[in-house]
Symmetry: C2
Subunit: 112 residues, 2 copies
């Protein structure tokens, strides 16, 4: 068993205004999936992109939207998002505070 506050994990800069912390992953011995915490500064967004694996997202704080091929859906604290493999997606901070969310991925992430 291992207890660790996510703030004690180094935040890697993914893009301007976007950081990611790999809080629990295979390096810790997690056998199946990884827990990351992502923060987007106001106005920042992830790329509009897709991949073969799924995301499970839990929004911790902030206000924003998730974009799919069908358009934008508002997101805020307590919202969860299931993004299946190959679904195009983008998370966007539309608020005045950081948009903070947990984003889970499977350890196996095959690139087709």
């Amino acid at each position: 068993m291992r207890v660790k506050n996510y703030r004690d994990v180094e935040a890697e800069v993914e893009a301007p205004g976007a950081t990611m912390r790999w809080v629990i992953d295979a390096k810790d011995g997690a056998p199946n999936f990884a827990l990351r915490v992502i923060e987007l500064e106001p106005g920042a967004s992830s790329p509009f992109h897709h991949h073969t694996w799924e995301h499970e997202v839990f929004v911790l704080s902030g206000q924003g939207a998730v974009r799919s091929m069908k358009g934008l859906t508002p997101i805020g604290e307590g919202d969860t998002i299931l993004i299946l493999g190959d679904e195009v997606h983008q998370l966007i901070n539309e608020g005045d505070d950081p948009l903070r969310f947990i984003c889970l991925v499977p350890n196996e992430r095959p690139i087709r």
Copy 2:
């Protein structure tokens, strides 16, 4: 893609003072792992138990402790816990407010 606030999911009573919401799981098409939100009222705890699958936990709010064979470790907001398969564990609310946490499990949970 599916967006859903965890509060809109029915809270199942697991034990006195303990509820669980299955927010994202195989019924939604999640292929690998399930996201549950658990709330323990003040004084409540999960059983001191073990199983073959792992947990990945993220504490949303409240104050408490996680018990292992080595004793108690304090937990609060932003703490994460990796509990590997077969590790004995118990989460305990030691505060005055609900202890709210995300608890992830793999979809495959074999009973040995």
